[in-house]
């Protein structure tokens, strides 16, 4: 998600800040790149069992500056809630709770096994496990699974169209959610305990989408409305007992939980996991350092980095995230409707400086392409660095090439135009924006940087009516696939002129690119490796087309209290709370 962070100033009446916006979840990456400082590498509980372990028990206390939206797992799209829901709910599949790259893989969760694709990838038949119970004691049945998929549409889940629109019958459900049946799309067979999915087209990411929180399985009688603060029963080792977005959240063990698959859903160590809301990010750091809390959710403010390194290095964990900062440029508005201008920006931008504003090389790495390091389809490629071009691409970014950039701008004849850069008013983006304004002026533009309210900026820059020329945005993967950075951000189907929800911010709709990503998606259904090659090709095409300037890939800096042991991260979520030791 685009995360919240507090930043305020001290006028008497007026205040300023930054806030929450839509959400995404965070993908973390292999430990090769991570700087975990515990003596022993963290491990999942042996056999998924924690009973009898000396570390079992206690309360894991988490802190965040504010609540995390609705507790309805099929609607919430906020990584703060999602990282907790991982230990509360299950879907038919789940991302493996294994270390490193292995956690990118979907594995069977409530399903007995991952079914092979049938009908050329149009049909999947899942066999439902027996004996798994919701936290209210009822056994998970076929009708629960079917009802949960209907409910995605009944409650207008954010991803209903994006992720689940490819199921047969989804079209009708999107138009009229209340009477959604998904007839012919999701078919349950009570006797055989199977659920059969029929798709309109083959989908290489189908298991990823089933593992996404909006596809969690809830009891069939869960009301078809946003449940607000009342979390429905789930199947994981914990159940949410209370939630108040202004104060906190409590969980306790799910008494009906039994381990059925250690890599899908292991049992937890702490007896309780609680969230307290209301501290500023600075206060969260101090409270975690003091041991008042065990884990802080929000980003550590930059001025605390020195202190963490000096005094609390053992309590800090740095992990790569599938998240990037980039500059979307509107390909339909001057001067960025000229490809030379967009390429000039890519040559001119000092990615090292952007890295500095995020906390230096330990906190982020420079990025010159759209697919971040660690995802299939990433191949080191950088034509936009000093001494490189499209015919002689470098493998990594070294320095900006201002001379070439100025030449391209001169060729385009756009010098002297007025350019407004729209950034959210958070410390990091404002710092980046101020720097980029300098760069734009140096290129000869009459440049302004406009920080606007964080809550609005994300939707504001999407709407073509607002005529935003260039902006700063950050993006996290929903699941570890390159399409989340290519098709999602630049596909024609995600460009909706005049709408606040048009995530193709630059407005690109390029047919060679479209053909390539469709081919990549299709090939990936049967051959992941060949698919990855095509994704890499699509990325290069995009880099050349330059609808954006990729800036950095950032890392997640996680601070825990002194007493926390077995800090275990999986790629998609932050710390896996069920595996932390507080004893």
């Amino acid at each position: 998600m685009r995360r919240r962070c507090l930043r305020s100033l001290g006028a008497l009446l007026l205040l300023s800040a930054a806030a929450t916006a839509p959400s995404v979840n965070v993908v973390q990456a292999p430990s090769a790149d991570s700087d975990t400082s515990t003596d022993l590498p963290p491990v999942i509980a042996p056999g998924g069992q924690t009973i009898g372990s000396p570390h079992r028990g206690g309360t894991l206390r988490l802190t965040a500056d504010a609540g995390a939206g609705t507790a309805d797992p099929q609607i919430n799209y906020n990584s703060e809630m999602i990282s907790l829901q991982v230990v509360v709910y299950d879907g038919l599949t789940a991302f493996a709770k294994r270390p490193g790259e292995a956690s990118n893989q979907p594995v069977a969760d409530l399903a007995e096994a991952l079914p092979p694709p049938e009908d050329g990838g149009l049909t999947y038949v899942f066999h439902l496990r027996r004996g798994v119970r919701f936290s209210d004691g009822r056994e998970v049945g076929v009708q629960d699974v079917v009802a949960s998929f209907r409910r995605i549409f009944k409650v207008n889940s954010p991803t209903a169209g994006g992720f689940y629109g490819g199921i047969v019958g989804a079209d009708a459900c999107l138009k009229d959610g209340l009477h959604c049946t998904l007839a012919g799309g999701v078919v349950g067979d009570e006797a055989a305990r199977t659920v059969t999915f029929h798709l309109t087209h083959p989908d290489a990411e189908f298991f990823d989408k089933l593992s996404f929180p909006h596809a969690y399985v809830l009891p069939a009688d869960t009301p078809a409305r946003d449940l607000g603060n009342d979390a429905p029963p789930g199947t994981g080792p914990y159940r949410i007992t209370s939630y108040d977005p202004n104060h906190g959240l409590t969980t306790e063990r799910n008494p009906f939980f039994k381990v059925w698959s250690p890599e899908a859903q292991p049992d937890g160590y702490p007896d309780h996991i609680t969230y307290s809301f209301g501290l500023t990010d600075e206060a969260e750091v101090t409270a975690t350092e003091n041991g008042d809390f065990d884990y802080m959710y929000d980003n550590v403010p930059l001025d605390r980095y020195g202190e963490l390194g000096d005094r609390f290095a053992d309590q800090v964990h740095i992990n790569r995230v599938f998240g990037t900062y980039y500059l979307p440029m509107n390909v339909n508005l001057p001067p960025f409707n000229d490809i030379r201008v967009r390429q000039a920006i890519n040559y001119a931008v000092n990615r090292r400086a952007m890295q500095t504003f995020y906390g230096g090389p330990a906190a982020a790495s420079v990025l010159c392409q759209n697919v971040p390091v660690g995802l299939p389809g990433y191949e080191p490629y950088c034509p936009y660095t000093k001494g490189a071009d499209f015919d002689h691409p470098a493998t990594e970014w070294k320095a900006p090439d201002l001379a070439r950039a100025k030449r391209l701008v001169a060729e385009s004849g756009t010098r002297g135009m007025h350019v407004t850069l729209v950034v959210p008013n958070r410390a990091v983006e404002v710092a980046m924006g101020t720097y980029l304004q300098n760069m734009l002026r140096e290129l000869g533009y009459d440049a302004d940087v406009k920080p606007i309210a964080f809550a609005i900026q994300f939707t504001y820059i999407q709407n073509t009516n607002n005529k935003v020329q260039i902006s700063i945005n950050d993006w996290y993967a929903d699941y570890p696939e390159p399409s989340d950075f290519l098709t999602a951000l630049y596909g024609c189907e995600n460009f909706h002129p005049g709408s606040d929800s048009s995530i193709d911010i630059s407005g690109l709709c390029d047919h060679p690119f479209e053909d390539l990503v469709h081919r990549a998606a299709l090939v990936s259904v049967t051959d992941k490796a060949a698919g990855a090659k095509l994704w890499a090709q699509a990325d290069r095409l995009l880099v050349r087309e330059a609808p954006d300037a990729p800036l950095i890939q950032f890392k997640k800096i996680e601070l825990v209290s002194k007493r926390v042991g077995n800090f275990y991260t999986v790629n998609l979520y932050h710390m896996l709370f069920s595996q932390g030791w507080v004893r």
């Binding site: 006028a11 963490l308 390194g309 800090v316 090292r352 230096g360």
Partner: protein
């Protein structure tokens, strides 16, 4: 009660007399000198930046270096601990040619920005406080003196202004002015027009200053000298000008520097929403804002402009005291 009763003949104009009286008070003269110095310092900003500090305070450069004790030192200093996390801008060096007061997180010289910032801050806050006090005096005196429906309407209007969330308006205004300016009839006001923060800040504090003035006027209008003037058939306007205004001037003179101090801080909140002072330009408020992100490492960034505000407001207060003494005939009479 000589001041209150209309005196037909005066040897000297009242303002001239007041000025002479003012210049006889040493503390007032000193504060005038301090204010003048502040203005001069702000005006000398380009000279300081160019010829003393040899830096461009509007140019972000995180790779910059400065020469300190003959050594080349990076302005953004990496943290040399085990995690290598984060960079810290250089702290105060006390060398005018090498970031005298340190650098901010963009690697810019804080001292030079402080001088440049003084221009915007002094202009905005002075204009806003004068505008605010004038409006407040107008509203407060009218509401208090005329009473009745005038009072009800004005007072409730003040209530609305005081209760409304200014920040919401500021957000709205900032977004309205992102691409094009604010259209007011034939005029277009761009968001970097300093009239916007001046007007907003002035309006925000009008109820704050008007309310006590109204309270004063309520009791003044029944005072003996006002009643006497009314009985004598003196026109209302004349009573307002001659009797009421001088008597609320104490409150006005005290409030003006206070409003100015509040304006100096409020300005930064608006500029954070890109209304008024815009990046890369500086004001004292925006430097404090920058410094708030460096509280734990470089507190000097926020403290330096804070001190500048204290000095300005202090000088204004002392000047206000002197002005009041100079204007108050009773006082000078007794002293003289």
């Amino acid at each position: 009660m000589s001041a209150a009763l209309p005196v037909p003949v005066r040897v000297q104009g009242p303002w001239e007399a007041a000025l002479r009286a003012l210049l006889r008070i040493p503390s007032a003269v000193a504060s005038l000198a301090v204010l003048l110095l502040l203005v001069l310092l702000s005006l000398s900003a380009p000279f300081y930046a160019h010829d003393v500090a040899h830096t461009d305070p509007f140019e972000s450069d995180v790779a910059a270096t400065v020469t300190l004790h003959g050594e080349e030192v990076p302005v953004m200093q990496p943290n040399h601990n085990r995690l290598h996390l984060g960079l810290t801008p250089i702290g105060p060096t006390w060398h005018a040619d090498a970031d005298l007061l340190g650098a901010d997180s963009q690697g810019r010289d804080v001292a030079a920005r402080l001088l440049y910032g003084g221009r915007n801050s002094l202009l905005i806050s002075a204009a806003a406080s004068v505008l605010c006090i004038v409006l407040a005096a107008l509203v407060g005196i009218c509401a208090g003196f005329f009473g009745g429906i005038v009072d009800v309407v004005l007072s409730r209007l003040m209530d609305i202004m005081w209760a409304i969330p200014v920040y919401l308006f500021a957000i709205s205004l900032s977004i309205v002015t992102v691409s094009q300016g604010l259209q007011l009839g034939p005029f277009t006001i761009r968001s970097d027009n300093l009239l916007l923060p001046i007007a907003i800040i002035a309006l925000v504090y009008v109820p704050y200053a008007a309310r006590p003035i109204r309270g004063r006027v309520l009791s003044l209008r029944q005072a003996e000298f006002v009643l006497a003037a009314r009985c004598l058939g003196v026109p209302r306007a004349r009573i307002l000008l001659r009797d009421i205004l001088p008597n609320v001037s104490t409150t006005l003179i005290v409030l003006a520097p206070l409003v100015m101090a509040l304006a100096l801080l409020a300005e930064s909140a608006l500029s954070f929403l890109s209304i008024g002072v815009q990046a890369p330009a500086a004001s004292w408020g925006t430097i404090i804002e920058d410094g708030q992100g460096l509280i734990y490492t470089r507190p000097a960034v926020a403290i330096a402009p804070g001190l500048a505000i204290v000095v300005t407001v202090l000088a204004l207060n002392v000047l206000g005291d002197g002005l009041r003494d100079a204007l108050d005939v009773r006082e000078t009479g007794r002293r003289g």
